[in-house]
Symmetry: C2
Subunit: 344 residues, 2 copies
């Protein structure tokens, strides 16, 4: 089969590799599409210490994928070839204190399919995963859109952590795929008073096309002041940091009211300058979110209901173009979300 | 009357000043004792930007004080001379979004008596405050111990924010007065599994004298590893950062389990190096606490029940010694908590 094989930093080759076997308890999926995510860029460009390279390479990247069941392992009885499925790619140990408490996303030994850690992912014609990592796609969600269930579940999980109620005000920093997912999840939960902050004109345009009414460009001036002015001087109830930039982190804290929440949903490559005194004076709560925990099913239901439109922010590319039109285009911000089509 | 008058950075003089008048709605207190707090040191040594000096000086410092009512303003009918009282020194505006929501401690215009911001405090024979800032001392709490209600309320408020349940494990970084207050508040709430981390031998000794069983010296080795080892590798449920040092901030995050809480109850003079990625992988919650909100009454009840013993950590000094045995001794860590006696 053809696959995008990761050999180490900035080294991916599309080549022919053996099709994987399906063992007991596993499911082989004929991949329809696989999305490329910000964390893939961190791996590809070598910015995630310890994940790239090492003795787990070469491996097949890709942790956002969906397709049709091609084959099931001996004891898998509830799925059969042809079923439309998507993959929740988290690998948890089932034994650590987090797993025993049901908090499998913060497993002390957490791993993921397709992140270069020894478990191949979805940038290939076929991928094999454990049964427990597979969710059926509901009617109304295409095989290709099914690959978006993963990033949308990250965003949805972030919104759950934000504990936002309808009627509250929210700021979303960053209108990349996660920022868009946060925005659409908020709308799906009935939240209306949303400020989006995004420096890229094309990303602002995309999220406006999805209905965002107040979209601020930080290069136009002080977004913290602009948000405070529109929130009785107080700031928003909840801010989501989905940009991963130190300036966004600082602005998210500044734009949030006293006792408000700031949820970090972006990967920050570097430490930020942070004043604990800010938390003293504001009693704000800061938290972060890792992946998803029981979020795929509600997200798939919302996708089936049309709450996550893909217009204007998702590009489909061919496997052969995965570097140029995928990794490089994303780093240069020439694309927002890229899905790699594995089947015609 | 005699008072410790603050003229600006490192400039306090004990001198004779006019006794303040008692206006409508106010209460004049004959001060029995006034505590010196870490934030007083920040003001005295000029480390709190904007608070020290300026056009609100000279002023009388001291925001931890108790005594007897000396006189009441015209419309104060529920207190009379001789009543034993303590002061909740927070000044809130009653108009901002926080105040309107009842969250007066995070008032957008918050101020305090005795912090050099234009409202005189308790380092004087008499102090005048608004009626709403006065709490009666219950039987069993001495006039001098009444001055400790303020710092103990800060600590108690922090513990409330920590949302600790009995049976959970906790780490307290710092065994200064706030760390001790946090420890005693935890014990009062039935929490038993408490690790205290403190580099000073005398402070370790003091908190051990109050019953703390596991008291770690960070110079003995890796306290994060030691705490993890004693918590099934996971870390504590909740950590309190009551030291104000960057190393404690980092250790508090490291010693806390995934999904755990870190509560900052110390003043950090400087920003810290902070990796938002840590919150992604752990989904920890970090928050801070400012002062107290409806915490004085429960604290005074606990004080009356003997839950906040003062043995081994509170020194009583004379007003004339406020600089040498107060500010300078505290900065040099020759003292832990200092109460200045205003009456014999």
């Amino acid at each position: 089969m053809r696959a995008a094989v990761f050999y180490g930093k900035e080294n991916i080759r599309v080549e022919e590799v053996p099709e994987p076997a399906t063992e007991r308890g596993e499911v082989k999926i004929k991949v329809a599409a696989n999305g490329i995510c910000g964390s893939d860029l961190h791996v590809y460009f070598g910015a995630m210490g310890g994940i790239e390279g090492g003795d787990t390479q070469p491996s097949i990247l890709g942790h956002e994928f969906a397709g049709e069941v091609a084959e099931v392992g001996a004891d898998v009885t509830d799925l059969r070839p042809g079923d439309a499925v998507t993959v929740e790619p988290i690998i948890s140990c089932d034994k650590c204190p987090s797993c025993l408490a049901g908090d499998y996303n913060v497993c002390y030994n957490v791993g993921f399919y397709g992140t270069g850690q020894g478990h191949n992912g979805g940038l290939a014609e076929y991928a094999v995963v454990a049964r427990k990592n597979v969710h059926r796609l509901p009617d109304g969600v295409s095989l290709r859109d099914g690959a978006l269930a993963e990033p949308l579940s990250v965003a949805y999980h972030g919104v759950e952590k934000g504990q936002v109620s309808p009627g509250q005000s929210v700021a979303v920093f960053g209108a990349g795929p996660i920022g868009i997912g946060v925005y659409l999840s908020l709308r799906a939960k009935g939240v209306e008073d949303i400020f989006v902050v995004e420096p890229s004109a094309s990303r602002r345009h995309a999220i406006q096309g999805l209905g965002a009414e107040v979209v601020l460009d930080p290069s136009d001036g002080d977004v913290v002041a602009a948000i405070k002015e529109r929130t009785r001087g107080a700031g928003v109830d909840v801010a989501f940091e989905a940009a991963g930039a130190p300036s966004s982190f600082t602005a998210a804290l500044g734009a949030t009211r006293r006792l408000g929440r700031v949820v970090i949903v972006a990967i920050h490559e570097k430490p930020v300058d942070f004043s604990p005194l800010h938390l003293i004076f504001t009693e704000q709560v800061i938290t972060g979110v890792l992946a998803y925990k029981n979020d795929f099913e509600p997200v798939l239901r919302l996708m089936a209901e049309g709450k996550f439109p893909t217009t204007g922010w998702v590009d489909l590319i061919a496997l052969d173009d995965v570097v140029d039109q995928g990794f490089l285009a994303l780093r240069a911000a020439r694309a927002n979300k890229v899905l790699v089509a594995l089947t015609k």
